[in-house]
Structure formats: C-alpha cells, structure tokens
C-alpha cells in the first residue's frame, strides 16, 4: 500500500491550493483526481493539442490555473489523474481505481476537495435534448470549445447564471434571457454592504452584467423555467413567476423560442465520501443542501479528515483556494511541521470572503421549494425513467420510505447512483410528511462512490483470501 503524509482528493482550486501549501511545508503529498487534466471545474481547459483560434474570454483563468498546476510537478507531490476514489475503507485509506495504477493509499491525514455537482431540479421536458445544466455548458465551452446551441435561455438560480450567460454571449450565442428565481433586484440594496467585502469578485460580476447588457440580454428576476417544450429537442422554454415560498403563477407564463435551455439551480457539495465515513453533516439550503460540519481548521467530525472548498459547503473559487491553504496548514500543524500561529495570512482573507459569501447567498436565497415544477408526468429519475406519478402510485401501495420507494420503482439505482434524483425524492418525502428535506432519512451510501471498472479491483497485490472449509456452514463475522 502506498503511504504519504497527506492525501488530497480532487485537483480543483481547493485541492491544488492544499497541495501547494503542504508541499511547501515539507509534507509528502498524493493528489488523486477524477479528471484527466487538473483544475477541476473552474480551471477546466482544453486537452493538449487543442489550438484555440484567438484569445478566449477565460484565458486569464487558464493562466492563473497553470500557475497552480505547477505544484503537481513538485518532487514531494505524487499526482494521480484519471483516478477515482471509490471507497474509503478507513478514514486514512483511499481506494483508488485508476486502471493499472489502481490500489490503496494510506495517509496520515486526508483533505477532501471533491467540489460540487449540479443540483437537479426536475420540470416537464428537462430530459429533452438541448436542455443542459449550467455545469455541463461550462464544461463544453471551457473544456471542449463546443458551443451547444444558437439561441439560449439560461434559467435557474444563483450567480453562475450571469457567468454562463456572459460566456455564451462571448462564444457568439444569442442569449434570449436570463431567468433568475430569486428577486435579486429587490434584495440588492440591502446586501451591498456585505458584497463590497470582496471588490474583485464584485467587479467581475459587474463585468458579466455589462456583457449581458451590451448584448441586450434581459434578466428576469423572480421567474423560473416551468417547462421545456419540443418534440425531438427543446424549441421553447416556458417561464412563469415564482415567489419566495415556491408558488408559481402559471397564468402569467410566457414562451421563449430557443434551441438551448441552460438550467442552473445552484450546486451541491459532493458529500459522498464524508457520508460514507459517517462524518457529521448539516443541512444548509443556502449552501447547496447537505454540507459537512467542520471545525475552524476545516476538520470534520472524523479525526484527521478535512474538507476544503465547495465539497464542504458552496462558497466559490476564491474561498476554496483559501480553505485549501488553511486546511493544509492545519494538517501540517497536526503533523508537527508548522507551529501554532505561523502561516495564517489566509485567515483574514477567508473571513472577508466569507462575509461576501453571506451577502451573495442572501441575495440569491432560492424559493423554499421547486416542487411546484414537478408535475405528475415529470421524470424524476432519469436513469430509470421514473415519473412523479409512478412514485406516488407506489407510495399509495404502501412504499413509504426512500428505501422502499427505491426498491419499488428502481429509482436511484442507475448509473448516476441517485445523484440526479435523491434530492428530489427527499423534497417529495418531506412534502408528504409535512417536514423539511433535512429530516428525511436517505439510503446509506456504499462503495463504489462512482461507477468503476471491475478490472481495476484486480490490480493491487493481496494476500490470498481465507476461504471457508465448508461453504455451507455459517461464515462468521469479521
């Protein structure tokens, strides 16, 4: 088994910052990342060999990313790209699936920096071709230089909509409208005092706003997409006003022609590994749903297991960078490589960024629920094609809990392992029980955390198994 001082899961902003700090402080580091190339979502860039024509708008981000990637060549850093952490049999052990490089890594401390995933919000037509999540569109634009449409509507909630809208405009797409569920214009004056805490980020947001204004893109605040219509692919987005409690006013609905409907209802921390290890979680609707409880050092309730960045609670790239540095410093202190009080220049920055975050999340506070969008015929589980009506029929037959509904409908059992439907199931169950999604018991996560090729389990050297002499007798507990 490979050993190191610190194992980092994820080579996005938080993971790279943690690796940089840890390598400088003299720790032996292993960085495991799912992607073929470092940078995560934010610093995503085209594969080697792509020759972009002219300067692309995120060239500056890419250059900033490149300087972060340098750490991966550091002599104390082992970088495993294209590598999935599929199990953590103990809090100090990562089981890595990476083709011929598969095997376990034992670390004295672990920093999880897995980032976030799109928060699924189903509505009629959301599975039509041409309806793409904001994260997916960003990947296509940044990672592949693919423009997935000609006339777009960008709908959902959160600051990412401005960014995606501006990127689409700069890529030559006609953006018909930005549809923002939160009444941001009404809330903006009250939040300005906190938003000025991070002037560079605010300036960037204003730049995106200016690009959209220059292209004549209207921003409708307090509206939501309620349906994607079209037979083979989306040809219209249907939108309607939504209030802060989630009530939709369908009488005022409008249709907008488009061949691309970008949906971005916020992002959620990828909490699978902390959940698997039994780390304490906390439901926080403003930070993406289930978030990881952490100490001031970003340590979870499981000793020597840290989480940095959006993988713990949504905060964005700058906060993720700060948390990566701070978590690595905490690990170095724990391992005796750094004295208390040293190396804390990131703390003041984190505090300022956190103040900005509080302003931003208050500005963009989403409606209490999107359940009004989930009509009976809406597909909730897109791997197994399970509609809300089917879930309700099974519920009528007695399947009451998430686990029973899962068994009865096969929802959550597809390739996405429930990532696209479990949050919705929690919403529905909470609704029926007259409680909050935070109170709903979810099925226990189990390895593999991501689907992995079975062949990857044949790589590691293992001692031969202890086989039963009589296969029929009780095997006994381990």
């Amino acid at each position: 088994m490979k050993t190191c001082d610190l194992a980092i899961v994820g080579a996005g902003p938080a993971g790279l910052a943690a690796a940089t700090e840890a390598a400088e402080l003299g720790l032996d580091v292993v960085v495991v990342d799912e992607n073929a190339r470092p940078g995560g979502q934010y610093f995503r860039h085209p594969p080697a060999g792509f020759r972009p024509v002219g300067e692309t708008p995120w060239e500056k981000d890419i250059r900033r990313g490149q300087s972060l990637f340098a750490v991966l060549g550091h002599p104390r850093v082992t970088y495993l790209p294209d590598a999935v952490v599929w199990d953590m049999p103990e809090p100090s052990v990562l089981a890595v699936a990476a083709g011929p490089r598969s095997g376990r890594v034992q670390a004295r401390a672990v920093i999880l920096a897995p980032g976030a995933q799109d928060r699924p919000v189903p509505f009629p037509g959301w599975t039509l071709p041409g309806v793409i999540s904001a994260g997916g569109v960003q990947n296509l634009l940044k990672g592949q230089r693919i423009v997935p449409g000609t006339r777009a509507v960008v709908a959902g909630n959160g600051p990412l909509l401005l960014l995606v809208g501006a990127n689409l405009v700069r890529a030559g797409v006609k953006v018909a409208a930005i549809i923002e569920a939160a009444p941001i214009w009404r809330r903006l004056p009250a939040e300005l005092v906190r938003l000025v805490a991070a002037p560079p980020i605010l300036a960037q947001a204003l730049r995106y706003r200016a690009i959209l204004a220059h292209a004549g893109v209207p921003i409708l605040a307090g509206w939501t997409a309620v349906e994607a219509s079209g037979s083979q692919a989306v040809d219209q987005a249907i939108i309607a006003p939504i209030d802060e409690t989630g009530v939709v006013d369908r009488a005022r609905r409008r249709r907008i022609d488009c061949d691309l409907l970008v949906t971005g209802f916020g992002i959620s921390p990828a909490v699978e590994l902390p959940r698997l290890l039994g780390a304490r979680l906390r439901y926080d609707a403003l930070r993406g749903g289930w978030t990881v409880e952490r100490s001031a050092d970003f340590e979870t309730s499981v000793a020597n297991l840290f989480v940095a960045g959006d993988g713990a609670a949504i905060g964005g790239v700058e906060l993720a960078l700060a948390e990566g540095h701070l978590a690595a410093q905490a690990v170095a202190r724990r391992l005796g490589r750094l004295h208390a009080g040293e190396g804390s220049t990131w703390e003041a920055r984190w505090t300022r960024l956190d103040r900005f975050r509080r302003g931003l999340e208050s500005l963009y506070r989403p409606p209490r629920s999107y359940r009004a969008l989930i009509t009976p015929e809406t597909i909730v589980c897109r791997c197994e094609d399970v509609t809300r009506a089917e879930i309700e029929r099974r519920r009528g037959e007695g399947a009451a809990s998430a686990v029973q509904l899962k068994a009865a409908t096969r929802m959550t059992m597809g390739r996405c392992q429930g990532r696209n439907c479990l949050p919705t199931l929690a919403t529905l169950l909470a609704d029926w029980a007259g409680t909050e999604a935070s109170a709903i018991a979810m099925p226990r996560p189990r390895p593999p955390i991501r689907p992995i090729p079975i062949g990857d389990l044949a790589v590691e050297d293992l001692p031969p198994p202890d086989l039963p002499a009589d296969p029929h007798l009780p095997r006994g507990r381990r």
């Binding site: 199990d87 049999p89 089981a95 037959e397 007695g398 399947a399 009451a400 809990s401 686990v403 029973q404 068994a407 009865a408 096969r410 059992m413 597809g414 390739r415 392992q417 189990r446 390895p447 593999p448 689907p451 992995i452 090729p453 079975i454 062949g455 389990l457 044949a458 590691e460 293992l462 198994p465 086989l467 039963p468 296969p471 029929h472 007798l473 009780p474 095997r475 006994g476 507990r477 381990r478």
Partner: protein, 367 residues
C-alpha cells in the same frame, strides 16, 4: 383490547409470507407481524439465485419443490418475481475442486437430481464466455433466477388477496403464553393468537428467547455487487463448487455478483457494511470465471443479513416445549427454499404432517 387472530406469523420475509400465503389460502385467519417493512431485510437484499445444484443434500427435495412454486408464482399467480429457468453452471477451477464437483454430482444423482458433466470443448460450446481457469462444470436444468427486489411487493399483495393481514412497523417485544393463547406485544399493538409461527430470519434467536427457547442462530453479512447494464454476455446462472461465487445477468443487462463473501456488521447494532478486501476477492473470483466482467463498471455494492443455524440446515417444525408455536427460519439459501418451506409449514399446521421428509430440520436437534 387485544387483536385476536387464529394464527400469528412473525416476520414478513419470504418464509413468513409464504407460510401465511398457504395458510390463508386454506381459509385460516392469519396476521403477519413485521418489525419493519415487508421484504425489507434478507429477502429483498439477497442475490435471487435459485440454484438447485449448490444446495446441501439434505435440502435438495425442498429446494426442487421451491423452484416449482417460484415458477407457479410467476406463471399461474401472476406475481412478478422475475423467475427465469435458464439453467445453471456450477464451476470448478482447480483439480481439488474438480474432484469435489465429481463427488457432489454423484451424491446428487443418488438423490434423484441429475446434472450434466461438462469440460473441454463441450463446456466452451455451451459457455464460451467462461475463463480458461474453469476446468469443469455441471449443468443443472432446474437452476433458475429471480429478482428479489420486485418479488416482495407482489408476494405481499398476494398474501393480502388470500385474506391474511400484514402489520408492518411492529417490532415484537414480548410473547407470553397464557391460557392456551399467545399474547404478543408488537410496536404498541397487543395481539392474541391461538398459534404462532416464528419466521424472523436472523432475528429468530431473539424471538424464540422470548418463549424461553435457546436456538443457535448466527447472522452472516453477505455482500453483493451489481454492474451497469451491459450487452448480453452471460446466459446461465453461475455458481461455484467452493460456494464463493454466484453470478447472473438480468434481462435489463445488469450482472449481479455474490458468493457469500462476508461484510462487517452486528445484528444487535443494525450495522451491515461492505468489507473492502473481501469485496475485491469476490469480484476477482467473478473475473476469473467470466473474464469479460473486468470491462464492466460496478455501480453498487451492499450487504444483507442471513440468519443461519449452527449446522446451516433449516429450523423447521414445532418449537420444543411450547405447544402451538412453530419455527420456520434460517435455512442457508432460505430465499430459494422459502416457498416450499411455507407450503410444508402450512401442511404441518393444518394436517399434522408434512409432504416431504423434514425430520432433519426439527429444531429439537438443538434442544
């Protein structure tokens, strides 16, 4: 006021539901008491393997009858149990295992279960997808598979249609025998029954202890893994002479891999987790037998309890020393045998004797 019934069945897994089904069909008044949800534990979490040739000699007759009943559930009663009689291959991968397989084949033939010996080209012709390490196999035309996930709700509805009543979320906390009747405290309910069947799977030891009977029951924690849907690859139920592999591909393309590899867990604590290294060994055996599995992606693994008596034979019959109480639980491979064990239990309670020879399963062997 306690609820009065003729027969109370404790446990709504396969053993309890099938017992209730045959009793209710005979016109008896039956209440099934379940601590959680019907089919919520081992019956819903097992591999659905209905392989006759992997069974111990003592349970061959029961297991053969059970396959007929599973087929009837699907084809006559219209219960969606996913039954498919595709035949099975029991493989051997070493000289020692080949000898074990030969011996087992002979013993089974003597008991009236014929299998076909396959090796060399004949084996590759039938199953070209087997790996080079597989030296021989026996083919059993009885071997079948089912889908545990969908079978439960269908069977529960059939039990209710037959007239029995299901009481879920009612954990039995006390049983007293009083004036020839059983008084059962379960999840806030008070129930009075003339007769009682304990079909509580891994929890059977705990329930019998409430009546002062000590039965040696252990809880194994069996692991299973399922793959993503894949193109058609495996068209037989695969088992292993060493008892370390079960493998099948369902019509939706997913492959289910098991073999009794042990996870971690404690019945008392309600924990049942996968065990990393054993899971790797389980999947390595699967890849040794069917190498093409290496290319498929695994999507989920899980672990479920299996209640097993010390000698791994069913606990079936009258509970020693407690008139009117019966036990029907803890058969190794009990999911497979459940329908026949239910049928025989109903027969024993209604007619005082069984159709098949069930003497080896009498719980008095532990008294």
């Amino acid at each position: 006021m306690p609820r009065r019934v003729e027969i109370a069945v404790i446990g709504a897994g396969v053993a309890g539901l099938c017992t209730a089904l045959f009793l209710a069909r005979a016109g008896r008044e039956v209440l099934v008491i379940e601590r959680g949800a019907a089919w919520g534990e081992s019956s819903g979490a097992n591999a659905g393997t209905l392989s006759l040739q992997i069974k111990r000699n003592e349970v061959l007759q029961v297991s053969r009858r059970a396959i007929e009943l599973w087929r009837d559930f699907q084809e006559i009663d219209g219960i969606e149990v996913g039954f498919e009689q595709i035949g099975g291959l029991r493989v051997a991968t070493s000289e020692r295992e080949v000898a074990m397989l030969r011996r087992s084949q002979g013993e089974q033939a003597a008991l009236g279960v014929e299998t076909e010996w396959l090796d060399g080209n004949r084996l590759r012709d039938m199953a070209p997808w087997l790996g080079p390490d597989v030296r021989a196999a026996t083919f059993c035309g009885w071997d079948s598979m089912s889908v545990p996930l969908t079978g439960g709700p269908g069977l529960a509805r059939a039990v209710e249609r037959a007239g029995a009543v299901l009481l879920a979320d009612s954990n039995v906390v006390s049983i007293r025998q009083d004036g020839g009747r059983f008084r059962i405290g379960a999840g806030g309910n008070s129930i009075e029954a003339e007769r009682l069947v304990i079909a509580a799977g891994a929890w059977t030891g705990q329930v019998c202890a409430m009546l002062g009977v000590d039965l040696p029951v252990a809880a194994d924690v069996n692991m299973l893994t399922i793959t993503e849907p894949a193109p058609h690859l495996i068209d037989r139920v695969i088992t292993h002479i060493g008892g370390i592999l079960s493998l099948k591909q369902y019509p939706n393309g997913t492959c289910l891999i098991g073999g009794g590899w042990q996870g971690r867990g404690e019945l008392a604590a309600g924990t049942r987790e996968t065990e990393h290294v054993s899971l790797m060994h389980n999947l390595r055996v699967a890849m040794q037998v069917v190498p093409d599995l290496a290319k498929l992606r695994m999507v989920r693994s899980w672990a479920g309890y299996e209640g097993v008596a010390a000698d791994a034979l069913p606990l079936f019959g009258a509970l020693p020393g407690v008139a009117g109480a019966y036990v029907n639980a803890c058969a190794r491979g009990g999911y497979h045998q459940g329908p026949a064990l239910g049928e025989e239990m109903a027969r024993l309670m209604l007619e005082g004797r069984t159709g098949l020879d069930m003497r080896a399963f009498d719980p008095r062997r532990f008294a």
